[in-house]
Amino acid sequence: MEHSHNTHDSHAHAPEPYKYAAHHSEEEGKKTRRMIWNMFWVLLAITTVEVTLGLFWRKLEISWAAVKMTFIILTVAKAYFIVAYYMHLKHERKALKNTIIIPFVLFALYLLYHIFTEGVYSEMMDKWFF
């Protein structure tokens, strides 16, 4: 974490900045902005690929299963870029990263596991209804 405080006159009389509040200099800002716009192009490119694939996959003679897997992989990639860079998680402490990622991934997998295994009961329900 960067704790370098800048020296704007505008808040010279302000109280000492909170120690967890991040500040950065003009040059660091420039670098951050470059990263933000680079990420924007990455996200835009992924979305464009997804939409193009969604519209033209039949003409490309790829199997639907392959297209679906591509969508899921691209989506997870997009999610990674948003969380890591825009939500700044990549540059947080390891303890914070683990606290956020591990419980979510575990619970999400648990949920998916139950949906795929217990899902067989829907077939039975269907027979009871008709």
């Binding site: 505008s10 991040a22 200099s25 939409v51 899921i72 989506t75 969380v83 825009y86």
Partner: protein
């Protein structure tokens, strides 16, 4: 107790009043809230995925449902939702630029970028309302919701027709397309074409429906409508509250609250929420509109 007397804020919890996460309380709690919220959406979307595959071709394909584009006639599948996605990603970019400006104590920068974020959020909400309007309103052609009965598949098995949505092949209303549940995930599964006597019977026993609500859906299985209203509605509620919170922070930025405070961490916190809303949409876009 003697312990409590020595327990001041500096030595609280034996951590010397330091966060092991190197993050403030507010930011940490925002992250924890987002995890639980993310799990809600995981639940919705995995339930959606299950039924989408379970019902096979009874499930409408989103590219046949969302085909409108404002001020343009004809068939434009996915185009409008792609634009909405772009707008939301763009507002995420302006939000992270506002956070960056806040780190430099650049009040003007924060105001401008947060303003663009508000605009992006408002446009997205309007787009969603427009999308809902078209989904509820439906097409002029409508569809036939079949009544009780059975039909034989080419392989000899007998399927029930009750509640199945048969769509017209074209504007002439001479051919009805009757879908049946195919192998999970096969969206290219065939239809039975109803013509002549079978068509007349199907129309007489069934009922014409236009558009969608919670119990009927002219595009296919009614659960599709339920999931659509519920998931995009829940996401839209998040966008709406995000816009409201962003607006409050925007007013504070203009009034110089954070400038006086010496840091713009509040922008960072609402930024986290706003990126999360964008993140959820990335998944909704894939699982609802693409897959």
């Amino acid at each position: 107790m003697s312990n409590t007397a020595t327990m001041d804020s500096k030595t609280a919890w034996g951590g010397n009043n330091e966060s092991p996460y190197g993050a403030s309380y507010g930011k940490l709690m925002m992250w924890f809230f987002l995890i639980s919220d993310a799990l809600s959406f995981t639940g919705f979307l995995s339930a959606y995925g299950f039924y989408r595959h379970y019902y096979g071709s009874l499930w409408p394909s989103a590219e046949n449902v969302f085909t409108h584009f404002p001020f343009m006639h004809g068939n434009h599948p996915l185009l409008y939702v792609a634009l909405m996605t772009f707008i939301l990603i763009m507002s995420s970019v302006t939000m992270v630029l506002a956070v960056e400006a806040g780190h430099r104590m650049d009040k003007k920068g924060v105001t401008i970028w947060l303003g663009w974020t508000l605009l992006g959020g408002a446009i997205f909400l309007g787009s969603q309302a427009w999308e809902w309007y078209h989904f509820i309103h439906g097409t002029e052609l409508g569809a036939i919701e079949l009544g009780r009965g059975t039909f034989a598949l080419p392989n000899g098995t007998v399927e029930h027709t009750y509640g199945v949505i048969a769509r017209w092949a074209d504007d002439s209303k001479q051919v009805l397309l009757l879908p049946w549940r195919e192998i999970a995930g096969d969206i290219t599964s065939p239809y039975i074409q109803l013509t002549g006597q079978a068509l007349t019977e199907a129309v007489a026993n069934g009922k014409e429906i236009y558009g969608a609500n919670l119990t009927h859906n002219e595009y296919g299985h009614p659960l599709f409508g339920d999931f659509f209203f519920f998931i995009t509605g829940f996401h839209g509620t998040h966008v709406f509250s995000g816009v409201v919170i962003n607006f409050i922070v925007f007013i504070n930025v203009i009034m110089g609250t954070y400038q006086k405070r010496g840091y713009y961490e509040m922008v960072e916190k609402v930024g986290l929420y706003w990126h999360f809303v964008d993140l959820v949409w990335v998944f909704v876009f894939t699982f609802f509109y693409l897959v």
